[in-house]
Subunit: 166 residues, 2 copies
DNA sequence: GTTATTGCAAATGATTTGCACAAGG
DNA sequence: CCTTGTGCAAATCATTTGCAATAAC
């Protein structure tokens, strides 16, 4: 796990007069070691599998703290779940493309996009502070080959149902 | 209210073997006459003020039907509420800029943005189907004049609290 | 008449919170 | 010690649903 993140969190924790606890540290460790987006239930499963004991309430509280500290960002992948993305520290302006066939999420950043957001906002009389862009798309693999390798994987994991149902 | 919308809804309703009801028609009428984004509670208030009698459950069911029919789009303005936008029929590719000072929402569309989304998606091996972009920004008025006219209005309506609390 | 629709109240699911006990500094 | 953190269970909030009565067609 990135030490810069640990330092920023420690700074935030002590500035607020909070304390170091083993439960919270385990949760933070898990989030920023795996370093991939997750839902609360997914994180809870991962913790359970690793034998980390931390209650649901504590996990919710740790997540809230990380969001307040600016280390974790809540994102919406359009699947009805609240998802958290720990990757904005390394890549502050990234966006998400969600494959509507297999659910695979691709992160991408583009300077032209940032430029355009900035210009458009200013033209309307605003200074952009934060943006969130999600593109939903279907993959060429499925279109051309009739099957998308990730689709199979996603179904096995119970993440995508044949029709699009949740 | 736009007759094209009524026609599309009627077509959808009869194709699914559903029925015309006064409650549903009132809800639809209200949504597409005012033609602005709304939360369920706001819509319910508007209906109550106009003396339209339609239960909360019926309003939820009507909204769901309109979303299924593609006439209404669920959007996320980042305030923790589910918002619905009836304006995608007239302006299929528009985006939202939310003023973080006053909460004012500005809709905008831009062809360069569409082009860029398309190119970026293709480069990653996808065909874009749908996108959602929200820019959060602060307004020059507040920055330069020390006050934003909409802020006052928003507070009166109880939409923005002094700090950013909900 | 048959079947969809409504309104109510109860159920659901995600998240938050009150409280008694445990633990950090 | 003193105060924050934890775990549990209960509370909350938005949304959905079961059901009996009502109304389309």
């Amino acid at each position: 796990m990135n030490t810069a993140i640990k330092e920023r969190l420690d700074a935030y924790v002590s500035s607020k007069g909070l304390r170091q606890t083993s439960q919270r540290n385990s949760v933070v460790e898990e989030i920023f070691t795996v370093d991939e987006h997750f839902t609360v239930d997914e994180l809870l499963d991962r913790l359970k599998n690793k034998g980390v004991k931390s209650s649901r309430a504590t996990v919710y509280r740790a997540i809230r703290l990380l969001v307040e500290a600016g280390l974790l960002v809540e994102i919406d992948l359009g699947d009805g779940n609240t998802t958290y993305d720990p990757n904005f520290i390394d890549s502050p302006t990234h966006n998400h493309l969600v494959c509507i066939d297999c659910g695979q999420v691709t992160e991408f950043a583009d300077s032209h996009l940032e430029m355009l957001n900035d210009c458009l906002s200013r033209r309307m009389g605003f200074r952009p502070v934060k943006k969130s862009l999600r593109i939903e798309a279907c993959c060429d693999k499925l279109r051309n080959l009739g099957s998308c390798p990730n689709l199979i994987k996603a179904r096995i994991n119970g993440k995508r149902m044949p029709n699009g149902k949740r």
